[in-house]
Structures are given as structure tokens and as C-alpha cells.
């Protein structure tokens, strides 16, 4: 695979190193002269000096044959622009953008730049995983496909504890796809009884988390039980 990486900061250079060690061809583009010179000692011909938002710089790096373009500079406008021209002008099939300021995430989405990865969001997800609020964890969001997969822990007070799957009236647009019990997972059948302590995986339409959380914790369950 041929990969172009815009920005040789910590993220860019470590990505380059990993990809090269996995046998991929990589070109790293860095606009800062000093950083470029330092990187050249490590990456030799795999790093080029220039502004990756300039079309000729991308062309010089061979964007026409790139399988993947990754924009990880410290500037969100630059990352959006690199990915937009990679996708729309050079018809590169796969792009990945870094979001520096999580508030800009909506702009990446608006311009169709997906996936857009934000370290802040990733860490928030991890915090959620470690300290689950209401026991809900986002496992996967397929934004293009408009689906989400979440994990929920069933507390003893939950109205679904002790209830057969076929009798659980889930909100429209959600489905239990897996149950984790005593360290192993299985796909539930209609007559599977959900037990307290189970972790259930659900697939849902976006925007249903609130309703699902309510549903699983409803009726008299203490707020932070």
C-alpha cells in the first residue's frame, strides 16, 4: 500500500515508522524546514519538504497513485483541505484526518471528511469505558451507515434483569446482538433470559442512546446505583 502522510509531528512520524515496518511505502510531508531536516536523518527519501496543502507538493509526492492519504498536521483547516483535495480532486479512495480541536469535528463531517479522528474524543471514550456513566459504552459508530454499537451493563435493579429476550420491548431501531456473561459472549435467542450483571451489546440507530439508557435503568432505579 502507498501512503502519504501530511505532517511529521509526533503522530505523523510514528505512523510513518509503523507503516514502514509493516512493509508499506510511505511519503511523509513536512512544511517546517528544521523538522524536515531532522526527519530526513531518520526517514531519508521517505520524507519530503513542503506544504502538503499545495497541489504541486501533493503531486510531487505521487498522490495520483496513493492508496491512502492521512492528514495529521496541527491545523484543522489544513487537514480538511488535504483530505478534501485528495478525495475529490485526486480521487484517492481512502483518507484519514486528524481533528485537533474537537469542536471542529462537525466541520469535517459537513465536508464529508471521514474518518476524522480526535484524540480528545478517543480519550473521552476510554474514560467512558473505564468509568461508565450509566454503564453505557460506545463501542463503534458507523457514521456513514448511520449505526452505533453500544455496550450496557444490566444492573440488578434494571427492569430487563430476569426477563426473556422475546419479552423485552426495546425502543424501535435497536436490537440486542450479543450478551457477555462470566467472561464469554454469545448471541441470545428469543428465550434467553437476561441476568443482572450481564453486559449486553446493542446495535442502534444514532440518537437512541438516551432512550436505551432510560429503558435499561428505568422505573425507580437510583440515579447512580
Amino acid at each position: 500500500m502507498y501512503v502519504i502522510i501530511a505532517g511529521a509531528g509526533k503522530v505523523g512520524r510514528n505512523l510513518a515508522r509503523e507503516l514502514i515496518s509493516k512493509g508499506h511505502e510511505v511519503t511523509l510531508i513536512e512544511v517546517d524546514r528544521e523538522r524536515y531536516l531532522a526527519m530526513e536523518e531518520v526517514f531519508e527519501h521517505a520524507v519530503q519538504y513542503g506544504d502538503a496543502t499545495e497541489l504541486w507538493v501533493l503531486e510531487r509526492a505521487g498522490i495520483q497513485r496513493a492508496d491512502l492519504v492521512i492528514a495529521v498536521t496541527g491545523d484543522d483547516e489544513d487537514n480538511m483541505l488535504v483530505c478534501q483535495v485528495a478525495k475529490e480532486k485526486y480521487l484517492c479512495e481512502r483518507i484519514i484526518a486528524r481533528v485537533n480541536n474537537p469542536r471542529n469535528h462537525e466541520h469535517f463531517k459537513l465536508l464529508g471528511i471521514q474518518p476524522a479522528v480526535s484524540a480528545t474524543d478517543l480519550i473521552l471514550r476510554l474514560i467512558e469505558h473505564e468509568v461508565p456513566r450509566y454503564g453505557l459504552v460506545h463501542l463503534l459508530a458507523l457514521e456513514e451507515e448511520r449505526l452505533e454499537i453500544i455496550e450496557l451493563e444490566v444492573s440488578a435493579e434494571s427492569p430487563v434483569a430476569g426477563v426473556r429476550v422475546s419479552e423485552i420491548r426495546l425502543p424501535e431501531g435497536s436490537l440486542i446482538i450479543s450478551v457477555l456473561r462470566n467472561g464469554s459472549g454469545f448471541v441470545p435467542k428469543a428465550d434467553t433470559i437476561i441476568e443482572a450483571g450481564d453486559e449486553v451489546l446493542l446495535v442502534l440507530d444514532p440518537g437512541l442512546e438516551e432512550a436505551i439508557t432510560q429503558f435499561f435503568s428505568a422505573n425507580g432505579r437510583k440515579a447512580s446505583a
Binding site: M80, H107, L110, L111
Partner: protein, 142 residues
Amino acid sequence: MFILIVGAGRVGAAVAKAARAAGHEVSVLDEDPLSHERLDAGTGISWEDWEGLFTVGTALETEALIQAGIERADVFIASTDGDNTNLIISQIAKKRFGVPTVIARVMDPARATWYREQGLQTISPAEHAIEMFEHALGLVAG
């Protein structure tokens, strides 16, 4: 018309004053509070007394754009000193806020040309300078 100008540099400020003088409602957004001085200069009246609007904020902040009046703007001009910023915020003005007329200042002729082909109105000062030099040197006819 209600005209929103993002970036009160030399170009942005001059266009803002010209538009105000022509009787338009003009709002200016810039991240630097001191850029306001450019709007006061040479008019003999402060920008606010002239009923101009000024908001401090960066162009990617949705709240700043809304505060500056983007939702009722007839024209959006992106004239910050960053080509990429101008190209991105112009698209936001168009796609998210549906501003009817959007114009971006893009110094780099290559980017200006490609985005123009994609339907974005771009003005490239460098492109014009190159043309004028070519004329001055007699490299092109006319």
C-alpha cells in the same frame, strides 16, 4: 444587503468600508481585537458610530459566526490571511448556513482555480498580480 466579512486585514477592512459607504449593512469578524483600528482609519468616524458591526472570534467557531450574523447574511467574504481557512469557512457558509453569495480570497492560484471549478467563487490576488506583470512585460497580448 447584509455582508459578513471574515478577516479584517488590508483587503477585508477596505472592502468593509467600501460596502458600508455604499449603504450596505456590514459585519466584520476577526480574531484580533486590534484589527478594529483598520475599520476606523481614514473615515473620520468610528466603525460603531458608522453602524458597522464587529465581532472578535475565529472563523471556525460556529458561535462566533452566528454572533456575527451569518444566519442572515446575503454575502459572505472570507478574507483571512490563510488560504485554507478561507476555503474551509466559505464551504461552511455555503453548505451549513446557505449564504447565497460566498467569495473566498485564495492567494495560491492553483487552489483558487480548482475550487472555482468546484463552484466556489474565489479571488486570487496572486493570480491578478501575475497577470499584471505579464502585461507589464508585454508577455501577453492586450
